[in-house]
Symmetry: C2
Subunit: 179 residues, 2 copies
DNA sequence: GTTGAAAGAGGCGCAGC
DNA sequence: GCTGCGCCTCTTTCAAC
């Protein structure tokens, strides 16, 4: 070889993007299938996947379970305000969050500088326990407001990707067509 | 065999739950590894996974990509109110949602009977385009309020599962220890 | 339920174009 | 960058306990 065979480039072409799309939809696709789906032969397809991995684009391969089938009926968004938005209080709160499996998502939000949580529990009793016995006992938590989801209209994990090409951050920015 | 070998039971024991836990964390685990992780030999492990599949517990095996690495910097929650909460208006709105890849999540909420969206876009320009050129043009949409996520403190797809045992819905409910 | 063996498929690396 | 070959591990099935 002259230099590196497939040195991690910051420019993804449409084939790379097609690969990412396929993997977002199906983490268990075989390399042979994937290659067929993106019009490549298995070896170069495999090499591209490895290169994309090296770029750190993959977080995890996961199985999505059916919450309803498992009896997890309650999906609730909880807005949490802290008494003081000093960095220390934030760190404490975020540390507490880590161990609670019912907290599916947690965002630090603009505006009132509070947190938005999405919490999943099987029933109201569990929710009450979560809020009263745990959430309100975190030091610094001042106000809590819950909104219930009546229906999960959409839930997906596949990120929106551009159709044509994509320059990765810390390369310079080019305007891209996002679909 | 006397009747069915492994007829889909509605009762999951701790081994089933251990399997679900492993798969939630790693969709690409091999059956051999999985078996070792849950203290089983490969064959019964494989049979259990197939039984869990038949129960409809698995939604999908997906690859989670790194939004930041792909230049998707903006994560915004949008509350959408409709002029009238007639069923027809809801159906129209939900239908429109389906085709927009930047809508990661959409929930029908209690209270003002509106929707909560989580939208991911690369930049402000894309967000403006999404809201002005598309969202506001859906018939029935009256009010829109956006809140930005400054930081994604936590994002996971693994549902909270009980530690010990679990009776699936449409069997009768027994109180379970949810962790 | 469990273990063990056997066949078929796919991952993965290599040599050549 | 692509193709074709080959090893080797894993999945998946089938017998017996």
């Amino acid at each position: 070889m002259t230099s590196e065979t497939k040195l991690p480039t910051r420019r993804l072409d449409r084939t790379d993007i097609a690969i990412l799309r396929q993997l977002q939809d199906n983490a268990r696709i075989t390399n042979a299938e994937l290659a067929r789906a993106v019009n490549l032969s298995p070896t170069p397809c495999f090499n591209r996947v490895r290169a994309l991995e090296k770029l750190g684009l993959f977080r995890q391969h996961v199985t999505l379970l059916d919450a309803g089938a498992l009896g997890l009926r309650i999906n609730v968004f909880i807005q949490v305000s802290l008494e003081q938005q000093v960095e220390d209080a934030l760190r404490v709160f975020e540390k507490e969050i880590e161990d609670r499996p019912e907290v599916m998502e947690c965002y630090l939000m603009t505006g009132d500088a509070d947190y938005l949580l999405r919490v999943v529990v099987p029933d109201m009793q569990s929710l009450e326990h979560f809020i009263v016995q745990w959430l309100t006992k975190i030091p610094g938590v001042s106000n809590i407001r819950s909104s219930f989801a009546l229906k999960q209209v959409r839930y997906k994990t596949a990120l929106p990707l551009p159709t044509v090409g994509l320059t990765l951050p810390s390369g310079e920015e080019t305007p891209q067509e996002w679909t």
